[in-house]
Structures are given as structure tokens and as C-alpha cells.
């Protein structure tokens, strides 16, 4: 058996999230069905770096699975893509050692959140940006974000309905930049709680809109209570952008 690792991109719009759910179209079930075809009916279990919610996208989801097939590395993407629907694309593949695990070995994750900051909506980006038609102050949001960088208990930024006990995570970086008519949030951390990126972005947008002061983030953070933070920004602006491991998984030309 060989262990294969994949970088996979998907547009989350038409999926009920990543994880298999009975009767729902999910990323995992589409991938496992495609893999079963390539393996002539043999069921293949695919492991991910973590699930994503309904409507959430991925540019750099990392998956691994075990296979008896020995296809050359560069042919895996084409072979799998020919079986996959066009809203899921395998971008890269590699062989890894049998003790590699896409979830347990992940050291850092980079999420991106795209806000369309324009008066008019854009029908071509309706599923991949969150449209905010009012004025947003970048500097205020950047100032607020500084209070979240570091190792903290992020309970205030975690959906109430979670069963994770340890809510301490480290946020290494939050950048907020304007790119044409969009505001792009990049968050890099060692791990993220349920809805954490979306609650942080939703809260920062309230600061950017002048509804909260940047310094309030200190109190919100220290309250360790979800009710202190702002609204959860919608899933369709969010992208799992990159997952980092100890060593590079893919060999580039």
C-alpha cells in the first residue's frame, strides 16, 4: 500500500460542507465516490486536514489516502480529475510515508476571507465574496486585529455549539489588505476553532464600520464568551487557503 497526499481546491457553493452526511452532496463523498471508481469498486477512505462548512471554499485542502495503485505522481491529478465533478479539482499529488497524517501533522493553517467592499453587488463573485455595501475603515480593523495576535483562549470567537475542550490557539498573523474592490483578510494560526475565522472577520467588520472601537477587542478576547463578539461572517467568503506541514509535501519543478 502507498500513502498518497493531495492538494485539492473546491468551490463550496454546491456542497453541504466537506464531511460525509447521509443524503447530502459533500466534498468528501464526491471524492470517495470518484476514488472508488479508480479503484474498481474498492472503498477508499479519504482523510482531510479538517472539515469545512457549507459554502466554504478551499484552495489548499490537504487529503491523504492509502492505495494499492502505483500511478506516477504527476498523473494522479489528471486521473482523479477525470472522475471528479468540476467544482472539485486535484491540484497536486505526492507520495508520503505511512505515518503521515493530513490532520494530525498539520502545523499551521492559513485561511483567507474575501469581502466585496463596493456599492454594487457582483453576480460573478456572489458565491466567493461577502458583499459589504457600506464604508469600511481598514486602519481601524488592522488596529483591532493586533489584539488577537498571540496565544489566547479564543472562546469568544468559537461557535457556542462545539465540544472542543481546549480553546487555546495561537494566531501568528492577521493581514487585512485592499485589492481593487475587495478587502482580503489572511489569518494564519496553529489551529482554528469552529467558526473562529468567520467570527473574527465578522467582529472586525463591525469595527471597520464604526460600530465598535478597536480597543474593544481586548475585552471581547478576555471575556472568553461568544456573546461578546460580533456576528459570524457568512461562509461563502471563506477559503481554506493553505495548510503547512513540517516538510514540503509536493515536489515542484
Amino acid at each position: 500500500m502507498n500513502r498518497v497526499v493531495l492538494r485539492v481546491a473546491y468551490e463550496g457553493t454546491a456542497f453541504s460542507g466537506y464531511q460525509v452526511q447521509p443524503g447530502k452532496r459533500t466534498v468528501q463523498s464526491e471524492i470517495e465516490q470518484a476514488f472508488m471508481k479508480i479503484h474498481k469498486g474498492e472503498a477508499i477512505r479519504v482523510h482531510s486536514s479538517g472539515r469545512t462548512d457549507t459554502g466554504v471554499h478551499a484552495r489548499g485542502q490537504i487529503l491523504h489516502f492509502d492505495t494499492s495503485l502505483t500511478i506516477p505522481t504527476e498523473r494522479w491529478p489528471k486521473a482523479l480529475n477525470s472522475m471528479l465533478p468540476d467544482d472539485i479539482r486535484v491540484m497536486e499529488a505526492g507520495y508520503v510515508s505511512k505515518d503521515f497524517h493530513s490532520r494530525y501533522d498539520a502545523q499551521k493553517k492559513h485561511y483567507r476571507y474575501r469581502v466585496l467592499a463596493a456599492r454594487e453587488e457582483d453576480v460573478f463573485r456572489r458565491n466567493i465574496t461577502y458583499h459589504v455595501p457600506y464604508a469600511i475603515d481598514l486602519t481601524r480593523m488592522q488596529e483591532a486585529a493586533e489584539h488577537l495576535i498571540g496565544r489566547y483562549d479564543f472562546s469568544s470567537f468559537c461557535a457556542a455549539n462545539t465540544d472542543v475542550q481546549d480553546k487555546v490557539r495561537t494566531l501568528y498573523e492577521i493581514t487585512i489588505e485592499r485589492e481593487q474592490d475587495e478587502i482580503i483578510f489572511n489569518l494564519i494560526g496553529n489551529g482554528f476553532l469552529y467558526n473562529m475565522v468567520r467570527i473574527i472577520v465578522g467582529t472586525l467588520l463591525e469595527v471597520g464600520a464604526g460600530k465598535r472601537e478597536p480597543v474593544e477587542l481586548i475585552n471581547i478576547r478576555d471575556a472568553k464568551n461568544r456573546t461578546y463578539a460580533g456576528k459570524t461572517a457568512p461562509g461563502h467568503g471563506l477559503f481554506l487557503w493553505q495548510v503547512y506541514y513540517e516538510t514540503s509535501l509536493f515536489h515542484h519543478d
Copy 2:
């Protein structure tokens, strides 16, 4: 009765083109259904600046229709959008005189064509760009395009299955520019034959890829024969970008 003009954007992906066809989901039929609801069941015929094909998008399609309703200009978009599916958006509205016609009064049209010029595909732009993974030379295409500017019989760039007699059109401008990982074609003319933009772009891409010489465009143009030109580029890279009339249709702040 009032005559209302609209600027409408739509993503063509899930439509069998603009024009009503029995049993098919088209832009026109979705719009007329929505308009019927607003008019309490009264059938409303909508007239466009011209049809678009399956998969083709619009940022600036112009429509007009007659109505007994007298809704303030700025409220029309919201009223109509609340009834429309989210892949069609009314962007602007205005009242025009009873002799205005969206098709007959159109003086110029601007089409845009987006090519994703990158090795990797992009799942998020799969429906709104044509992916070309090989190297494309912009200068060669720009040189070739010069031979198409002016008043010509564009038979070589018209789908063979058309019943239009007069194939003389004037192309005012073709610009070809790189924007990050895309190549953007802009074509402005007084009118376009069936598939004309897509055949021009397809032929220019063959020049850009080195399969044809820029000067060949003279022969292709003068042959007045579809078989001389290159392949028709796919519809999903094409956008009806703007339609020009003698006077501005919408009043801006």
C-alpha cells in the same frame, strides 16, 4: 404605460442562453416570470439589446419593457431582484421615452473575453474564464488584431449557420491586456455577427500560440469564408460588457 430600461448582469453558466426556448431555463424566461409576479400575473414582454448564447455572461445587458406600474427609478432594481434568481441581477433602472428600443437604438457594443493564462486551472473562475495552459504572446495578437479594425465584411468571423445577409460591420477597437494571470480582450464595434467575438478571439489565440502569423489575418479577413479563421473560443469566457446609446440611459449621483 411607462417604458422602463434596465441594465442587467447575469452569469450565463446555468442558462441555455438569453432567449426563451420551450422547456429550457433561459435568462429571458426567468426575467419574464419574475416580472409577471410583480405585475400580479400580467404577462410582460421584455426586449433586449440582443441575445447571448449558452454559458455567455452579461455585465451590461440592456432591456426594456412597458409597465403600468410607476415605481420610483431607484426602487426598480430592488423590487425586481427580490423576484429574480441570484444569477441574474438588475443593476440600474430608468424611465425612457416610448420610442426607445434596446435593440434598434443600440449604437455600439462592447464585449469582453477573459482568458485564464496559467498552467493551473482555477476552480473559482472555471465558468467565467477560458483556461489556456500554454504560453501566449500578447504582442503577436495585438499586431494581428490591427488587421480587423475598421469597416469590413466579417463573413470569415461569423458562424456558418446564420441567416443574416449583410455581414459588414465596423470594429472600432480591440485591446488585449494582461491583468495578473488573465488576458483580457475588449472588442468594441457597431454590431457583431453570430459568434464573431468568439471566432476572433479563437483566431487571435492561435496567433498568440504561434500557430499562425499576425499578417495572416489580412487573408482570413479578405477570404470572407468561415473556414479560413480559427476555432470558436468557448462561450464561458465571453461577457456582453456594455451597450452604448445616443444618450446616457441612467442618471448617476
